[in-house]
């Protein structure tokens, strides 16, 4: 079964990627799974300068979910290019670099730097991280600033660019449209929902930073809905993410309209999940009498009479 998929001009050998922040820079997981067999490796968010990240505790478990407030800890672009990228290249991974800036200027600079570097398949523009004080989510909450970030990056790179959007908005379609207008080749939907949890015995927040980002199966219905809303209103290439913990979960995203998926929290629990899903996906297509991914994307059956009522 041919599992090739295309996100704008980004061609992926299969549609199962690993999500930013859950795969480090690939080194840790390499002993467990062959990076060259992934549809793509999205790196931990990279910023211009190294970032230490937030105070611990940075993790809390919630019902079917995970709260994190890592705060974009990363080695910075220089060390990434020098120390981390060569490894990913050697593993023959399809590398998508997730970038994050505190200002338009930083996004511009990062785009410039990566435009000149070989061995990168695309950039994912993170305008949706809830765990930082400046930049991040701020940009992704308004259509205007979303468009501007994308324009800025677009102006400096010929690489395929994906806009990674936040679910913490009233109208995801509006933000999606702005990102595409700004020059995105595709969208990654969704980053984490803002959430918090409290240890009632100590009366302290479970995260030192109080509020963090909620991921995992708990948020899947929200993620699938956003993919569906955007896919139905705009005809743009979407990579779905949010709570994929099984082949069935991944399939929901394809049927809702995604051309590829990313696995985050699911990977932390089962490092081999992407390969399992890849394998089972082919079987599913066979069973359903579908010849490729393309014919599955957005192929949801709705009774006409009911669709009217939506």
């Amino acid at each position: 079964m041919n599992l090739k998929t295309k996100i704008g001009k980004l061609v992926l050998q299969n549609p199962i990627l690993v999500a930013s922040g859950c795969f480090g820079y690939g080194e840790e997981y390499a002993p467990l799974l062959d990076l060259s067999r992934l549809g793509g490796v999205v790196t931990k968010g990279i910023s211009l300068k190294p970032r230490p990240g937030n105070s611990p505790p940075r993790l809390a478990e919630t019902p079917a979910g995970l709260l994190n407030s890592i705060g974009l800890e990363n080695v910075g672009v220089d060390r990434f290019v020098e120390d981390k990228l060569p490894f990913l290249r050697k593993q023959k991974a399809c590398v998508i670099v997730n970038i994050f800036g505190e200002s338009l200027g930083e996004y511009r600079k990062l785009a410039e730097i990566f435009n000149d570097i070989d061995g990168i398949a695309g950039l994912e523009i993170n305008i949706s991280c809830p765990n930082v004080e400046r930049g991040g989510l701020e940009f992704g909450l308004k259509p205007d600033s979303t468009r501007k970030v994308l324009e800025t990056v677009r102006g400096k790179t010929s690489l395929p660019i994906l806009a990674k959007l936040s679910p913490n908005v009233t109208d995801i379609v509006e933000i999606a449209r702005a990102a595409m207008t700004g020059g995105a080749d595709g969208l990654t939907l969704i980053n984490t929902l803002k959430g918090m949890a409290i240890d009632v015995n100590t009366r302290r927040p479970k995260l030192a930073r109080v509020i963090g980002g909620l991921s995992g199966p708990a948020i899947r219905p929200v993620a699938v809905r956003m993919v569906y809303e955007v896919a139905r209103k705009l005809s743009v290439p979407i990579i779905g993410a949010g709570g994929i913990d099984s082949t069935e979960a991944a399939l929901e995203f394809f049927i809702a309209g995604a051309r590829a998926v990313q696995i985050g929290t699911g990977l932390l629990i089962d490092p081999r999940l992407p390969l399992t899903i890849g394998r089972e996906l082919a079987g599913y297509l066979d069973n359903q009498g579908l010849k490729d991914i393309e014919s599955l994307v957005g192929n949801m059956l709705i009774e006409k009479s009911k669709r009217r009522k939506e």
């Binding site: 840790e28 230490p52 990240g53 611990p56 940075r58 993790l59 079917a64 995970l66 994190n68 800890e73």
Partner: protein, 282 residues
């Protein structure tokens, strides 16, 4: 150090004290690679409850199996406690950096354990004891004496727990020739007090040189141990716990602040869980 991801059969899972379980898992692959101080991440039950794997230290390492010692705390350890021999568990490991062994093979090594901190300490004691039997102790000042009379490395366990029932595995240490001292918070066994009281006393009373101190227990105990050992020029190794998701260094969730003016974090799962006292801010 190659980590494994595999489903392994449970060969033993028994209560050894109220709420304390000893589990043995058959895994030549993990056992073959494992070192004291390392841990495994266990999916305690299929499905969402709990969602994440749970980290447990290697309590004992044989050639074909590992032993875990755990306390039932919440959902994860509860469902572990309900598994039976013959069932399989999904394990990832061995993970993390092991305890470095004492550089010297003579003098005393102090093992400080608070509560469940005892878990990784047994594996360490076994390894040190084994090595001290194999390697000769270095010559003493009065050279010329036979091997026999050389003062071998002496291992001291300084072990504190809430109460008598929570003091476990003492016999296993004694079998190794470890000198065991215990205290309890409520005085129900041994003296009333904390493991750190024992540490203070041992520093005074200890005969020979102290080659290294190892500590595992709650954060306040570790802080206190670090304070006591400050400027003593004795290597101090601390085994830390932190909430973990991946357990292998990828998610950056399990941070501990590194020593230094600039804010910088280390990963407990990958850079630790064993740290030298100078590396981290507790």
């Amino acid at each position: 150090m190659v980590m494994q991801l595999s489903r392994c059969p449970i060969s033993k899972n028994q209560v050894i004290a109220p709420g304390y379980f000893l589990m043995e898992i058959e895994s030549p692959e993990i056992a073959g690679e494992a070192e004291p101080g390392q841990f495994v991440m266990i999916k305690t039950r299929d499905g969402l409850e709990p969602l994440l794997r749970r980290p447990l230290s290697l309590h004992r390492i044989s050639s074909t199996s590992i032993e875990l010692l755990y306390q039932v705390i919440g959902k994860g350890t509860q469902s572990l406690s309900r598994t039976r021999p013959g069932e399989f568990l999904d394990l990832l490991g061995p993970l993390g950096k092991p305890f470095p062994l004492p550089k010297s093979n003579s003098g005393s090594t102090l093992l400080v354990a608070g509560g469940m901190g005892i878990a990784p300490i047994l594996a360490l004691a076994e390894k040190i004891a084994k090595r001290s039997k194999v390697l000769p102790a270095p010559r003493l000042r009065q050279a010329g004496k036979g091997q026999r009379s050389r003062a071998p490395l002496k291992i001291h366990l300084l072990y504190g727990a809430k109460n008598k029932a929570n003091l476990v595995r003492i016999k296993e240490f004694q079998k190794l020739g470890v000198e065991v001292k215990t205290v309890t918070e409520d005085g129900s066994a041994g003296r009333k007090g904390l493991a750190t009281n024992l540490l203070r006393e041992s520093l005074v009373s200890s005969p020979g040189q102290i080659s290294a101190v190892y500590a595992c227990g709650p954060r306040p105990m570790l802080k206190s141990v670090a304070r006591i050992m400050k400027n003593k020029k004795i290597p101090l190794y601390l085994s830390l716990e932190e909430m973990m998701a991946c357990g292998m260094g990828a998610c950056l969730g399990c941070s501990v602040r590194a020593k230094g003016k600039e804010i910088h974090y280390l990963r407990v799962c990958q850079d630790g869980p064993v740290f030298e006292t100078g590396e981290i801010v507790l």
